[in-house]
């Protein structure tokens, strides 16, 4: 498997000179061709920043961003522009970003105009082929964004993102505005794309349920740090970080095979402003100990391809007891 996109020790701060907040801290992440990496986390965890950093829409303060093995951390905007056909993105709310004056046909054609040297007939043919892949309905190519519902608009957003046959595709909460049926359809399409297009896909979602059907691996983000990352099946069966456990218990309440009760987290979802020394999750962690408030945990390798950033994981005591 060839790694397409990679972050190495990436830290990102956002804001002006007057007020800087750490949005991402020492992120290590890899995603390979033919793979879907899911990223889960609450709002404010840094998901969107992570998406934008992968595409170098954001300049990290530390670390390295790689695309197909090339360091693009310090590339000037002019150079990056030429790569933008190879790494693409969809946004949370497609209706807010699609140009309302363009038809779906024109919207799908635009990336090709920007990045592919095609003759007009070739471009038209490419758009038709794309429409077919997206399973667009007859006549839909002539509509404008205002005439589409959120699901169809997100599909157009996806079409724009894959028009140039990118190597890396990042989807920022693509299903959050969609109803269940549209969301399922969208994810199914995504899975078929992974198998046919040989690209690396990063799928960002609010909760694990939205990722679980299609993601090969899942990374859990909390306060700008990856607290746990591993194969989807492992994570669902046996989440090791207390935060992942809480996320799962909150989102899979109706699963009869899961014993126990929901783990309720104390406190509000944090913002990067209330960072404390020590483990970022300590203020809300049900099994936090005193040492958690002084020493920050580093990611621990578990098995062959899992990592968990919790001080208690190596002793095997990071599972939240079911009865308290």
């Amino acid at each position: 498997m060839s790694v397409v996109a990679e972050l190495r020790g990436v830290s990102v701060e956002l804001g002006d000179d007057d007020r800087r907040v750490a949005a991402l801290t020492r992120i290590d992440l890899q995603v390979a061709a033919g793979q879907i990496l899911g990223v889960a986390g609450e709002s404010g965890a840094g998901k969107s920043t992570l998406a934008r950093t992968l595409l170098r829409l954001v300049q990290p303060q530390a670390g390295t961003v790689l695309l197909e093995g090339n360091d693009i951390t310090a590339q000037p905007e002019r150079r990056l522009r030429r790569l933008r056909g190879r790494m693409t993105m969809t946004f949370r709310n497609p209706l807010a970003v699609l140009n309302p004056r363009m038809t779906v046909r024109a919207l799908l054609e635009e990336p090709l105009r920007l990045h592919a040297r095609l003759t007009a007939p070739a471009r038209r043919a490419a758009v038709e082929a794309l429409a077919e892949r997206l399973r667009l309905r007859a006549g839909e190519l002539e509509l404008r964004p205002a005439e589409l519902d959120a699901g169809r608009a997100q599909l157009v957003g996806l079409g724009r993102a894959i028009a140039t046959q990118p190597r890396l595709l990042v989807l920022d909460e693509p299903t959050c505005e969609l109803d269940t049926v549209a969301a399922a359809e969208f994810l199914a399409l995504l899975a078929s794309l992974r198998d046919s297009a040989d690209m690396a896909i990063v799928l960002i979602g609010h909760d694990i349920t939205a990722l679980q059907p299609v993601a090969d691996r899942i990374a859990v983000l909390y306060l700008g740090e990856i607290v746990e990352e591993g194969p989807t099946a492992d994570l669902l069966r046996d989440a090791l970080h207390p935060y992942s456990q809480a996320l799962l218990s909150a989102h899979l309440p109706a699963d009869p095979t899961r014993r126990g009760r929901r783990i309720r987290l104390r406190g509000e979802a944090p913002t990067p402003d209330d960072r404390t020394p020590g483990c970022g999750f300590a203020p809300r962690c049900p099994i936090a100990e005193n040492r958690c408030r002084s020493g920050a945990p580093t990611p621990n390798q578990i098995g062959t391809d899992r990592r968990v950033a919790c001080l208690r994981v190596l002793e095997g005591s990071s599972r939240i007891p079911l009865t308290r």
């Binding site: 933008r84 993105m89 709310n93 004056r101 920007l114």
Partner: protein
């Protein structure tokens, strides 16, 4: 849904109200003034017949309410009384001086926008880099600089030290005769009359005062435009355009389009605030415009002129508001139709 013209009507209503309030304040200034009304309106030593005439004209021996109504009616008819300094009617004085002021303001606004808007855009686009800090620092210094100080500094450098600009002695070299009034701008009129010497002199006289005003405008515009564009850069819409790999020019266009209402508002704000600054600059450069006329009246207590000047400033900001609302209205209609 807003009905067409509603905003304009509302603004006109506000205008009428503002006019009454200002008229009332002006009126009270005279009634409660430090000196008797006859002195405020007729100068320190009015002759007995002048005195009688003023009392009759303003109805100074009538009840206050009647005086106020008379005052409002006269003002609405464009009668602002006489200046005891020049002896002419204030209306005539204002009309004679208006072209000089307009000339200064129009050039300054154009030049200020030409510098300030691109500088603000460039500053926003170079966020976090040295260019931004430079533009922002220059903007802050310029925005905090008192207008007369900047004028004096420029005079010191370009007139005293470098001897590049003429003395601050009005709109034209004293040895030349002004061109006949066509547009009111000496420079343009001289060109139209093909009077090269007058045109050159008029231009030379214009440069420093226009530059002073333009720099002050540009400084504030830079800061305002920078903020407006920065807000656009943070929208999902803009991030999407960048992710698409659009060229720098396309991105600038997108940000400018999004920021256009704020930039337009900032520009209008500069227009509205301009008369006050222009007055100071006119004073420093002996420009002989409306602003200088108003300032001198204030310092000497020529009340008829002061009142007219206050009303003129109010009228100007109102006009700017109408311009602002009108353009926004048209722009919004265009967007809806597209």
């Amino acid at each position: 849904m807003e009905r067409p013209g509603r905003t304009i009507l509302r603004l006109l209503g506000i205008a009428a109200f503002v006019f009454l309030v200002i008229a009332f304040i002006c009126f009270m200034l005279i009634k409660l003034g430090a000196a008797p009304p006859v002195v405020l309106l007729g100068g320190p030593n009015p002759m007995p017949e002048e005195r009688a005439q003023l009392i009759a004209e303003y109805g100074l021996n009538q009840p206050a309410v009647v005086q106020f109504i008379r005052y409002v009616v006269r003002t609405l008819a464009g009668e602002f009384g006489r200046s005891w300094q020049t002896g002419a009617t204030v209306a005539d004085d204002l009309l004679a001086r208006l072209p000089a002021t307009l000339e200064l303001m129009v050039y300054a606004l154009l030049l200020g926008a030409l510098i300030g808007i691109p500088a603000g855009v460039a500053a926003a686009f170079s966020r976090g880099r040295a260019e931004e800090r430079t533009a922002r620092g220059a903007g802050l210094v310029g925005a905090a600089m008192p207008s007369f100080l900047l004028a004096l500094l420029l005079l010191l450098v370009f007139f005293r030290w470098l001897d590049l600009s003429p003395a601050p002695s009005g709109r034209l070299s004293v040895v030349l005769t002004p061109p006949p009034t066509i547009t009111g701008s000496y420079f343009i009129d001289a060109i139209l009359m093909q009077d090269a010497a007058a045109a050159r002199s008029a231009l030379g006289q214009l440069i420093l005062p226009v530059l002073t005003l333009a720099l002050l405008i540009a400084a504030q515009l830079t800061l305002q435009v920078r903020t407006a564009i920065l807000m656009q850069l943070d929208t999902a819409h803009f991030a999407y355009a960048r992710a698409q790999g659009m060229s720098r020019d396309m991105l600038t266009g997108i940000a400018m389009r999004g920021a256009a209402p704020s930039i337009w508002a900032a520009f209008c704000g500069q227009c509205a605030a301009l008369l006050g600054t222009t007055a100071v600059i006119e004073y420093v450069f002996a420009w002989g415009g409306v602003g200088q006329y108003g300032l001198e009246a204030m310092s000497r207590g020529d009340f008829a002129v002061m009142q007219a000047f206050i009303l003129l400033s109010a009228a100007l900001s109102l006009l700017v508001h109408l311009m602002h609302a009108g353009v926004r209205r048209v722009a919004r209609l265009r967007i809806r139709r597209a």
